[in-house]
Point group: C2
Chain length 473, copies 2
């Protein structure tokens, strides 16, 4: 068992992948940059400017009219709480946001659509819109906690307010997926996870979900567009439909299906053995592919019991290196419950792309400063803290984090002795230009490092407090 | 109260909208077709072919190699159960799927991305791919129940199998949103609902969610791209940031913010009154705008209590026609709990775009027939029924539905006396060409008619059985 697992971790094929091409290896750094990044502009929406709520433009219109549009403002993104008693969140979406920001333009097509409810003054302003302010934020892949100021957007009211929806859509979605995925990764105890939930999510959200899951530590994705666009390693071999296709006048012929798959994809492929009878399926699989068969996949039933039975059967059949891939409604709890079983690879669908019960991260985009003055909503509920903030993460000398310290951005840092203090945010945009250069691989490294830095109780799956307190000083 | 509500239903401004342009009226049929439908091809992803799981192409490759790729197949889409004890689901996504199908093409860009794991034979096949088969399905907006065969895709194995992920991504997402939204619509008791959840969803999913919510009966959306792309009426005036912006050396100046908004958007606008103190906010709002003020919005606190207080205050201030818009974490239960309160318009965010606890509809795409023979997975769990099916909905003469009768597609219909029987599915694609012509407005009408056809208990929000049984004969 141990041998097989280490082989997986060592960058071997993922047990669920095809057999051709470099994408079938899933070492943790196997990120393939898109060959033609500029093609994004052709493939994606050309302008991102209408991923915007109408009220941002009506506010703009009113602010231009009364002369407040140019006031110097700071907006901050944060989440008041973590969903479902979770212990930490994972910031994801930064790279996608920065790319989307460069395409936030009101071309003739966008102008035509908003012209009917805006003044000419507003339309003229939009026509030449380029964000010219500054953005700082937690680097993608950084952990966050309740109240962590994960993004700071500064500029005129006008240029910042119209980014609200785009910012939140991207961070709320991607962080929700990455936050759930990271829990699955830590529950898997080092065994690879394949993201295969595209069919359970909007077709574009699925691509972003693949990216977020990979950042959180998943090994590969089923989604072809995620491989093309973001370089995420691909995986996948066959579904029940392929076995069922091999049905003729004499009835089902599982062996013919397996033979066809092995002929096309090689003996290293993973055969799906639960279409009819799992025991018979495993026997047929080894008979067809031989003991070098890469893997078998079980997609239904009691996965723990079945994994044990199939492991014993494979060993008896002289196929001790054939890996066992399990899938079928797995979430972090099911993954954890299979830790003691001879499972080599997890395939995870619905739960990861839907944030495992928390499909949105609950982040908000709040105006915190106007012309240097702190501002905040003051009525009951949903209270916010005014003023620009910065976060410092305190850690023991061992690296274990102990506190998220949030202070006013311009206040002197209080003594943090005896802890090490690290400023969490980094510059992302300066004067409208993207200055951050972090890649998906960098973000993935950061999640891995972040999980290592948590106190033990921070990795618990049960409901509880945040792994470290957020202290506002 | 009654007067105000009827004014809303009669197509007046929605109380949350701006003041310019036809999109501020939200009569139920006010669907504005996109001015340039062909622009979709420029704005959206040019090809949809990589919204696909890798295993569909590896199966294709294996099937081409062993000669089974051309077998005549039928795939069906259905959901085994309704989430969370719901009584019905709403089919949505049909229009988006048919549009996406026409763009499912492997251009050079897609070919380059998949070339590394596919054979030349497979690549040649993909290069000329056009779906040439037939599709039937429940019309968009039709209600569905557990096991309802909502889509039937027929053609060769090869041409059908590679559509699995695209089909499911679209139907699972859009139906999840429409199904949740329809419950909110029936809970609202005829008062208008505005979809304003874009910030809680992936930026593209948000556009599809707006469309699905509108189909389910919502009146308007905050999402500008949904207005452009799908013609959904737009709504939105201002956020707390606009009030906070009006802060100077003397402190907050809510009156200045209201004045700026009224100057720009007219007295028919909706002012957000809960930034500081609601009672003071309402007084200021009427003082600034006069008794003709269109509406006030309350976004926090106990909305029922506040709505009553604010209604009394507005009436006292001589503003009996000023409407009350409430928002802030509303779901179908919160909406229902406000039925007795003087609420005129609901703004709904997170819960509608995330399917109110069920962010995916759980639909599957199953191979049910090969060369005229029924096929089905047979092992434990997830059992499917083989063979092509058709659904007939039985109703009393009064129109109230009583049963979803599902039979083999080619079997004679059993007697359904004394009920009226209606074939549910309609032709969508014939020989690869889209033949369906239903619009978003048609789908919206169908949801409204469907909700009327349910037995009373079918509209219950509590957990329960499906509104009508699905009977397989």
């Amino acid at each position: 068992m141990r041998d097989r697992r280490e082989r997986c971790e060592g960058g071997g094929r993922d047990g669920f992948g095809g057999t051709h091409g470099p994408q079938d290896t899933d070492g943790p750094r196997a990120v393939h940059p898109p060959r033609r990044p500029s093609a994004l502009l052709l493939r994606g929406v050309t302008s991102t400017a209408l991923f915007t709520d109408r009220y941002e433009l009506t506010m703009l219109s009113a602010a231009l009219r009364d002369g407040t549009a140019d006031r110097s403002c700071a907006f901050e993104v944060f989440s008041r709480r973590l969903p479902g008693g979770r212990r930490y969140g994972v910031v994801a979406g930064t790279g996608r946001f920065l790319e989307a920001l460069t395409r936030f333009r009101f071309t003739d097509d966008e102008m035509a659509s908003v012209a009917e409810f805006l003044t000419d003054e507003t339309l003229d302003w939009l026509r030449t819109y380029r964000f010219s302010g500054d953005v700082d934020g937690y680097p993608e892949g950084e952990l966050y906690f309740p109240g962590s100021p994960i993004l700071s957007v500064r500029g005129t009211f006008a240029e910042c307010v119209i980014l609200e929806t785009l910012v939140l859509s991207i961070f709320n979605h991607d962080s929700a997926v990455a936050s759930a995925a990271a829990r699955m990764v830590s529950a898997s105890d080092g065994r690879p996870l394949i993201e295969m939930g595209s069919r359970r999510a909007h077709e574009e959200a699925a691509v972003a979900a693949s990216r977020a899951a990979y950042i959180a530590g998943f090994s590969a994705t089923s989604n072809l567009e995620a491989t093309r666009r973001h370089g995420i390693p691909g995986a996948g071999t066959s579904a029940h439909a392929f076995t069922l296709l091999h049905t003729d006048a004499d009835g089902p012929d599982e062996a013919a299906a397996f033979r066809a798959q092995v002929d096309a994809l090689g003996v290293g492929t993973t055969l799906l053995v639960d279409t009819y009878d799992i025991t018979a399926g495993v026997e047929t699989a080894v008979a067809v592919a031989g003991p070098e068969l890469g893997g078998v996949r079980i997609d239904s039933g009691d996965l723990g019991v079945l994994a044990r039975q199939v492991r014993a059967q494979l060993d008896d059949l002289g196929a001790p290196t054939t890996r066992i891939v399990v899938s079928g409604d797995l979430d972090e709890y099911a993954i954890a419950s299979l830790r003691a079983e001879p499972v080599d690879v997890y395939g995870v669908g619905t739960s990861v792309v839907t944030g495992s019960g928390a499909p949105t991260a609950g982040m908000v985009y709040k105006l915190v400063e106007v012309d240097g003055r702190p501002v905040a909503k003051r009525s009951a509920h949903k209270e916010s803290r005014g003023g620009r903030k910065r976060a410092v993460r305190l850690a023991r000398r061992t690296g274990t984090v102990v506190e998220e310290l949030v202070t006013a951005a311009d206040a002197p840092l209080p003594s943090t002795d005896p802890y090490d203090a690290r400023e969490v945010a980094v510059p992302l945009v300066r004067g409208g230009d993207v200055v951050a250069t972090a890649t998906v691989a960098d973000a993935r490294d950061l999640v891995a490092a972040g999980l290592t830095s948590l106190p033990w109780e921070g990795l618990g799956l049960s409901r509880g407090d945040a792994a470290i307190p957020t202290v506002f000083s």
